[in-house]
Symmetry: C2
Subunit: 400 residues, 2 copies
């Protein structure tokens, strides 16, 4: 067949053999610290089931009809309250667009701003799904390394001063995916100042903000912004259920109008049934209490993973202890290749899976790190998995 007809954008990630890695992750014989899955025991499944029922009973056959592109007003108004509490921002429901998970919100941003070869800044490392979405628009990536307190602002300003017309900076300021790092207040203020000075948008992707296990909350970038420069992305995936496929975008009036046209072109409208069920859930249940319950569980799991890493990880490996979120980021000596190791028999025999760093850098240049998820595994799997993984790492380190 005429594979030559495929657009150039689809060649950017082809070489990474990601399918193989995801297949490993999904294989039930493995302990997977790979994907960012919630613990399914925490889903309020009975309450959600009841909310779906209420929705069908209250709405009648009309629930099965086409509805709006932006999402129902009632749910948008509840999100107004949610983001007021967790992001400390006052927004209008008309500036919220419901999306098919946070992923679609990221794609909408890419599609709105990016011509081929436009310049954007991403963190190094960053959320690999964001790279997949942005790859579709073939931008020129500028990568800024993430320190323990967020993006390196000196490197960022260097890039900004050398590169005219950066379209946006994409950042995950809270419990960053994959490093777990949270951006300090000083850096947040600097980022906002730089946006004014160099005229760019800030894409604040913050689905983990609700999940803090220790330390002090910092203000959201949207809270610090006074000029409509921050586009905020969040989601119900980590605090309610990812299968509901419901995220949202918050932006200024002009951008909201363009985002809505883009959303309509992508898939006409969101899943109204799911949105109305979420609305019913929020009407009848205390989401703050549910989030507190999630925090209690994940705090323990995070601790369990860190304790086991302290106990078993080879001396030459280091990690960042996160204050929240889903992930721990492990660093090995520079010569180490975690992509190759994942496909090597040593790790295959250990039956443990992580996400290698290579996939999480736009530059694909860093291979000696990997991401571990601690929310989805049982305590037993965490202990067994970290022990086996550490033994495999030790074996490889001794060989080299």
């Amino acid at each position: 067949m005429t594979i030559s007809k495929i657009a150039t954008r689809n060649k950017m990630t082809a070489s990474l053999n990601m399918d193989k890695i995801f297949a490993e992750t999904a294989d039930p014989k493995n302990i997977s610290f790979g994907m960012g899955l919630p613990d399914k025991t925490i889903f309020p499944d009975q309450a959600l089931k009841t909310s779906f029922m209420n929705t069908f009973n209250n709405q009648g056959p009309d629930i099965f009809q086409y509805h709006s592109t932006q999402g129902p007003v009632a749910l948008r108004n509840k999100i107004v309250s949610l983001v007021k509490k967790y992001y400390h921002i006052d927004v209008n429901g008309s500036n919220i667009i419901l999306t098919q998970g946070g992923q679609q919100a990221i794609d909408i941003v890419g599609r709105t701003f990016l011509n081929k070869n436009d310049h954007i800044v991403v963190e190094g490392p960053t959320y690999m799904g964001a790279l997949e979405a942005f790859d579709g628009y073939e931008p020129i990536y500028h990568e800024v390394n993430v320190e323990h307190d967020g993006m390196d602002m000196t490197v960022l300003e260097q890039i900004l001063s050398e590169t005219p017309n950066i379209k946006f900076v994409y950042t995950i300021p809270d419990f960053q995916n994959p490093t777990g790092a949270t951006m300090s207040l000083a850096k947040r203020k600097t980022l906002i100042q730089l946006a004014e000075k160099y005229d760019f948008y800030i894409v604040e992707d913050s689905p983990y903000r609700y999940l803090r296990y220790s330390g002090q909350e910092e203000p959201s970038l949207a809270d610090l912004d006074t000029n409509g420069r921050v586009i905020l992305i969040s989601s119900f995936s980590k605090i309610l259920s990812p299968a509901l496929r419901t995220g949202w975008l918050i932006a200024n009036d002009e951008l909201t109008s363009i985002f809505l046209s883009v959303k309509a072109a992508l898939d006409v409208q969101p899943s109204h049934i799911n949105l109305m069920a979420i609305d019913d859930f929020l009407e009848h249940h205390n989401i703050d209490r549910h989030i507190a319950k999630i925090n209690t569980l994940y705090r323990e799991k995070c601790l369990a993973m860190c304790d086991n890493l302290d106990k078993y990880l080879p001396e030459k490996a280091t990690y960042i202890r996160p204050e929240g979120g889903f992930f721990v980021w492990v660093t090995l000596p520079e010569s180490f290749d975690t992509t190759n190791l994942l496909l090597d028999s040593i790790l295959q025999d250990a039956n443990v899976v992580y996400v290698p760093s290579e996939l999480q850098y736009a530059s694909r240049s860093i291979k000696n790190k990997f991401r571990l998820n601690f929310t989805n595994s049982s305590y037993e799997q965490i202990e067994t998995g970290i022990k086996k993984l550490s033994e495999a790492l030790e074996a490889v380190l001794q060989l080299s």
Copy 2:
């Protein structure tokens, strides 16, 4: 704000004032023949509600977890049977990808094939949502007029012979949106032959195929294809419920693999809850019987609209009597501008809404036609609406 940062793709449709038109359509004071809405009285709402319940009861908390990008195997296998019956094709479930409505399937095709300024062929007129999706990739459109029996194949071959590397031809062969025309067998065979001769893919978008009210069925393009050149798009929106937001793509192995990567970048995965509820519905109900019931209702509505058009439409206006689908296409004298009329007080006072032809041509060049939907309105609304619309058209014709 820095609106200058918006990508060029978003400027293509900006001038059309579509928001205004859609607002008119949604205004409850109007009789809307605008959007392509099913009749909500035909939704099997109680059965679907039960299927959602069964899904929650059978799957447990796991239903709320992340799932696969492609969609559940069980549902894909049921779609194998469905397309065997309605499209007469034998496909493997592994070649089916579930999408967020047919719209996302169209967008995935655009994103897979189109670099900026690539050449594609669309029908003139065509589905405006497809134009919105393709606009996102800034192709060069070649428009082929639709005759009563489908695309003008002489014009198509002329374009193909003059234009190297056409990526694909996008066609709606059954009860075309918006003309209602169905492509003849002879033209279907010609199209397949041309695809071989000039090396292009055919995108067969066929969500209305299930809804035939008179005349004889033609083979699907996918059925006639022997070389993996046809990409078939269909959906549950017209035969079950659009709020389920569930369509699908069927393609050859190589394309399926690329489409899956694109789908993952767009929104990670479909709404698993909805897909499992559809699967349960198909397991426990006879979809063919439900489709037959829809056909009985829509046949009557189509007849009612045509009868009223025969009775009231000004002599200078003509229309095509469709054999199925959702739409009737009305043509006025060439000097007529149906976009302007929609915003004019004469039609505003009549409180009737249609979709003007301008939005449905890639070239935006034809303004004297409009599309009417007959499935969503009551018989009373059809009679009142067509009478008032005809009076408004008559008044404008007398002025000119």
